[in-house]
Amino acid sequence: MLTTARRHDKPEPSLADSLERWHVDLWLLLLLVAVGTIGLVVLYSASGHSLPQVISQAQRWVIGLIVMTAVAQAPPEVYRAVAPWLYGATVVLLVLTLAIGAVAKGAQRWLDLGIVRFQPSEMMKLAMPMAVAAFLHARNLPPRIFTIAVTLVMIGLPTALIAKQPDLGTALLVVAAGMFALFFAGFGWHWILGALGAIGAAAPLVWSKMHDYQRQRILTLLDPESDPLGAGYHITQSKIAIGSGGLFGKGWLNGTQAKLEFLPESHTDFIFAVYSEEFGLLGILLLLIIYLAIVARGLFIAARAQDTFQRLLAASLAMTFFIYVFINMGMVIGLLPVVGVPLPLVSYGGTSVVSLLTGFGMLMSVQTHRKLLSS
């Protein structure tokens, strides 16, 4: 990739230093490419040996990496300046999506702009942490009640629009992105605990007011196996795939659950089950460690960031990435409800790869545009 473009005019510049001059963070790049490689390998198996799908995904990776590098070139201040506008524009697009968007698989997520179709909700995953970070950057921290209220409205409005599509998974991630920014800004513990307590207290009340069919839906969401032929089928087959993988896995291309089409969505949301079946617990541990290393690198970059916006943005992006991973794995192994969140950087799907890598481009921008503090 970019390493080939290096010139050797200076004596022994380290690889990391050379890359940093191109505003690319070596560690993040290595870890991301590692996950991407694993993803492409699993995808070949999960898609039923479909080379075209693997190539198409690889192309998205190339685009994603180019976008990431491009994004990393601009200093973070640019993103702080753009943040409110991007946020505002995305909200408008979300409203448009609800009004005139294309319906696919029972949800209205896509906006057809004539040349391209894209999901504004995907853009909000970036716009949200940027906007909240930018907003909080301008406030005194820890935030007072007014700031908190404004932030919550900022988070709540697009979340509601996305949830309405309905796209529960993305809504969850958007909320998480905003809330993490608020959390790292020093959102008081008493507020956090209070809010959790209030939800806990309200739950039985809401439950008692619900219709039977609504309760049934929630029960199925929480315990999919109570509906073995419907919602439970996915999770049952997924657990069979994972459990039969054992410690060492059945080996690449030897998983039967996906190959024989027992596992639905095997190359998208449930690709983790395919990975687990073929590479076993040891493979999972490897992947999990890489994911955690990416999160750790993100938090490390955030800790070293030079202003509030950069700090909040970086930490929020890192933590949202983890939540992404956790929700997907949790749902595939039957710990969490099936909400339709792909496994980041592994599941098949272009928008997600490009938007995630854009986020990492911003992290790299934060990391590589640090000014030397003279005093």
Partner: protein, 651 residues
Amino acid sequence: MRRRESFKDLQGEKQTFTARAIFAGLTCLLLSIVLVVRLVNLQIINHDYYSTRADDNRMRITPVPPVRGLIYDRNGTLLAENRPAFVLEVTPEQAGNLDAALKSLEPVIALTPKDIDRFKDRVRKSPRYRGVPVRSNLSMEEVARYEINRHDFRGIDVTAGLTRNYPMGASASHVVGYVGGITEDELKDLDPREYQGLIQIGKVGVEKSQEDLLRGTPGAKIIEANAYGRPLRELDYRQGAPGKNLYLSLDARVQSVAETALGNLDGAVVAIDPRNGEVIALVSKPGFDPQLFVEGVDPTTYKALNNDPDRPLFNRALQGTYPPGSTVKPAMALAGLEFNVVTPDHREFCKGEYMLPGSSRKYRCWKRTGHGWLDLAGGVAHSCDVYFYALANSLGVDRIYQAMSGFGLGRPTGVDLPLEKGGLLPSREWKRRVRKENWYPGETLNIGIGQGYMTATPIQLAQMAARIAMRGGGFRPHVVHATEDALTKEMKVVVPEALPPIEMQNPANWDAVVAAMEQVAQVPGGTAYKIGKDAPYRIAAKTGTAQVAGMAQDEAKARDQSTIPERLRDHALFIAFAPADDPKIAVGVLAEHGGHGASVAAPIARQVMDMYLLGEVRYRGEAPPGAPPLANSTPAPAAAATNDDDDANAR
């Protein structure tokens, strides 16, 4: 607000952030541990459970049907075989538009509207990826035409399988039987494991009675299939076992002679080797083409077969119950001797009729003019009814029941073929139970000449002859001579089941009665002299003519049998064994509405015995109607004699 911003507490903010970042990092770690714990639970602790479930998902057991055993006659002539059959199949998923696909076949393979309807019905019930048969039994020409144009047909295949074939056609149809599709009712009674992959089951005859031997054991292929059930590859193979080949005791040549000899009469011929109970021939006419049932008979044909007044599906040899008529007289004579009611020298005077003491009702002999004085042998040889009225009267119904029971009347012989009937041997007890009436002495006279309530099947008659031939010994009749392992060719001969002997206080009684039966065929005036006189072996025999119910006796007597409508003519019966001094074959013949036993049934038995004992038919008598004329055939004597009995009043 603006003022506060200028005093941002950068240091404090950074500290808060660091603390929270550490907290967040630890939370990530903790949540990851939760995931790992869950994964350990799934992948380590419950690994076996989920492995099993994954295998259950993908493995399908596909049965491999066994090859059905072959059936041969005693000389190795094939009676039932498996023939390769080419079946035209269409796989809907690949063929696309089915109507177009069938249309494209038109110039290549002929299809009737019935084929197409049946095919469409099957398509609805079958998965789309599976080939559905359109027509079976393609001719080689059709297969060749298909192969030439093969590239034009997508999703249309010709597959080779095995189908049951009966080379003898109708000839042995009632013995061999046939296989057909398993019905719902049959499905309830059988063990599904033994029928995995099989769609046919033996329906009648040996095919049914030896089903367990012929069927074999299904093998199985373990197939990997995907979520939609489509088979992908073979994982394992479990060997089954082919069915046993059967060698029947039947002699196809004798069988064929018996069939030909019956001509176009309906009737039955059963020949048994008395030395071991092996059935040499078992004919029931008319027969039917067993092949019809293998393919699945269409409703029109089936209806026609069922409604045919000649009842071709009815096995007369085992299921037809007829009054045995005078063929019971030798056994009656033995009963009389055993109970000391008569001696061989005991004489009766026949004046053409008989009256019970103190009664004026007349029981007529078939010979209206009377036989005059006759001893026991004469009574048998001339089939004098009066002699046996007197004998029956002396014996009484209870002793007749006891003795005839010993000869196997009134219950099935137990031959290894399905659906055998037992006939009826009446008794006081039976009449009280069924008719709710007392037994009348006149009825005893009727059963004394094999009429009245008494009925028997042709195989019972043959078996009765065999028992007399063996002087009370004998074996249970059976058609399966040996079984052969299809792979090792190891033969296992069926051990004949000896029956409890019929005991006689004085064994000389057997000789007396056998001698009397020899007179029937060897002495001029004997009712079967015509077939015995030129035989190169000695025949012991007894003729019989059974009157068909529903016709006044006088009317029947008055008219020549040939002028009576066929369905009202008498049944012709005959039993015999030969050689009389060293019996090798015992025969029972029944010709429905054939007229007289002597003229119609006896020549059939003679030809059967000729074929078996001499290897050719030497008999040159008259042929029954419809049979190919024999050389030197002479015109039938007007009244060749027999019993004509039965008192219409007694019914």
